[in-house]
């Protein structure tokens, strides 16, 4: 267990370029066809799992037909994992079932790196187990929260012997503090202590900036970008005066601008993923997704040329 001393950061993984999530509802041809501009696939392993509960014990089992379909669809494309069920910030316990499932997945389908969300989504249920909150919730920017996450993140990095990344969330709570002032030191403490990397979701950042009322470019510049391994881009929807991180739309121009800025400031980035959520983006066709990937690839190439120059 970490004593709080800075951990040696994991080496940056080899560049993969532009990726897209594995969505069971998308045709398998989208992934195998090179015209989609896909260099890698981001897999949320929970879509391949069934949960079993026996009393307070949870197990996540890979469902064989779902796993095989995903593997057929992705073919030889490299995969990275982006989980949603770990709840790394839950004070009472994280989701051991998720970690055990990842052990199985690693053997069946090796991944280049894996990532999870920097927050919590379970609380104690009163009978020794966990209850899902139903919505991801952020952590307060405190030393205690940073050190809890860092210790667990370090364990994961060592367990899987590949980079582990954390994604700061979007949220709607003003009183957690000015993100430009509060979040950078918090992230730096987590990442320096754990040796883990950053999954920078630019649409999350954009939502937080808009909803809090700060300049997105200033917010981006304040973050510890040297730790960035992966970038997410996405589009969201407005509701009741809030910009939501619904990951349901095409990427807005402001987020493309942030991508240019981020790639210029973090030339070590290994991949960019256009992230959409299957539940909220039924109206987005594979053709629309392919167009976004084309733009992402153009940004990526421009950044690589700048770096080479």
């Amino acid at each position: 267990m970490s004593d709080g001393a800075p951990a040696a950061p994991a080496p940056y993984p080899a560049r993969l370029s532009v990726g897209f999530p594995y969505l069971p509802s998308f045709p398998v041809e989208f992934y195998a066809c090179s015209d989609a501009g896909l260099d890698f696939v981001e897999l949320t392993p929970e879509v391949l799992c069934r949960e079993r509960r026996e009393g307070t014990t949870r197990r996540l089992e890979l469902v064989e037909p779902a796993l095989q379909r995903a593997q057929r669809a992705c073919g030889d494309l490299p995969i990275v994992v982006h989980g949603v069920e770990l709840s790394i910030g839950s004070a009472h316990a994280w989701n051991e079932a998720y970690v055990a499932m990842l052990d199985d997945l690693r053997v069946r389908w090796p991944f280049r790196w894996h990532s999870e969300h920097l927050g919590f989504q379970t609380v104690p249920d009163g009978s020794g187990g966990s209850r899902e909150t139903g919505v991801p919730l952020p952590l307060p920017f405190t030393t205690e929260a940073a050190d809890l996450v860092a210790a667990r993140a370090r364990l994961l990095r060592e367990r899987f012997a590949c980079p582990f990344l954390l994604e700061p969330p979007a949220h709607y709570f003003r009183c957690l503090g000015n993100p430009v002032e509060e979040e950078p030191w918090f992230l730096r403490r987590v990442l320096e202590t754990s040796g883990c990397g950053l999954l920078l979701d630019l649409h999350n950042l954009y939502c937080n900036a808009i909803n809090y009322g700060v300049d997105p470019a200033t917010y981006l510049a304040a973050l510890p970008l040297a730790y960035t391994v992966e970038i997410h881009i996405a589009g969201g929807a407005w509701k009741d005066g809030y910009l939501m991180d619904s990951h349901s739309e095409r990427v807005p121009p402001a987020v493309w601008d942030l991508l240019h800025q981020a790639l210029a400031s973090a030339p070590q980035v290994s991949g960019v993923v256009y992230e959409i959520l299957e539940e909220t983006s039924a109206h987005l066709t594979p053709e629309a997704a392919a167009r976004e990937l084309e733009i992402a690839r153009a940004c990526w190439r421009a950044a690589q040329h700048r770096t080479a120059a």
Binding site: C49, E132, Y172, F173, C175
Partner: protein, 248 residues
């Protein structure tokens, strides 16, 4: 831990019935932040986001059933379900069984919605038995036979195909018919379900509690039929008193 419990409660997560040790106290800075969060408009918005996600998960877990429930009743049922903590699990299977049981207790008996609810529940149960090894088709005369735990028998007041098609949104819901038709669902059935004939329905009824094969044969039940239902996972050899499946 206390801070997280309180934030969860602020966005609509039901509190445990019994206080959780270690969560009853919060520090002064935590209480200060929680008071601010209670007044923060973002908290109410997050609660709304949570509710909309819970509704979406519930609709996904019991889509066919809810499609046959009138709009007002559907809204009331979903609101009650989410208010009591439902809809929070990301896994459809974990959400489905408790939700479908919740709905079954509140839907009119002999209604199409009630039958489709039992059907959806049966499908989830059958999925839960995937990978099971089923009994031999030739058990000994003293083998005790009962309903298999992942099997279900469902009665429809009309043609199941038409009723399920209506639930799936492809056709108008047919009127209720006094002439019922039954389905069997089990992990060993190809496609998980099929129509059930009168002999199978009688055997299903007879095996509500474990019976020896010889008793069942003496009561006129077909031994070959028993064998077939064993290999499909509809029936099982009783090894544990009290382990039995359910019917609708």
């Amino acid at each position: 831990m206390g801070w997280q419990m309180e934030l969860a409660a602020l966005v609509g997560v039901p509190r445990p019935a019994v206080p959780v040790p270690g969560t009853e106290t919060t520090t002064p800075p935590e209480r200060h932040l929680l008071r601010a969060l209670a007044q923060d408009p973002g908290t109410a918005f997050t609660a709304e986001v949570r509710t909309s996600w819970c509704w979406l998960r519930a609709r996904r877990a019991a889509g066919l059933t809810l499609a046959l429930v009138p709009h007002e009743q559907r809204t009331a049922l979903l609101a009650e379900w989410v208010r009591t903590g439902g809809g929070a699990s990301a896994f459809a299977a974990s959400e489905a069984e408790p939700l479908l049981n919740f709905l079954a207790a509140r839907l009119p008996p002999r209604s199409h919605a009630r039958s489709v609810c039992a059907f959806e529940l049966g499908v989830h149960r059958a999925h839960g038995g995937s990978g099971e090894v089923f009994a031999s088709s030739s058990p000994g005369p003293f083998a005790r036979i009962q309903r298999a735990r992942h099997a279900t028998h469902v009665t429809f007041c009309g043609d199941p195909a038409l009723i399920l098609a209506a639930a799936a949104g492809g056709a108008p819901s047919p009127p209720r018919d006094d002439q019922t038709q039954d389905l069997l669902l089990a992990p060993g059935i190809v496609g998980l379900w099929r129509r059930c004939d009168a002999g199978e329905a009688a055997l299903w009824t007879a095996c509500a509690t474990p019976r020896t094969l010889s008793h069942l044969r003496a009561d006129g039940h077909d031994v070959e039929l028993m064998g077939r239902l064993l290999t499909e996972g509809v029936l099982a050899i009783a090894t544990d008193i009290g382990a039995s499946a359910r019917g609708a």
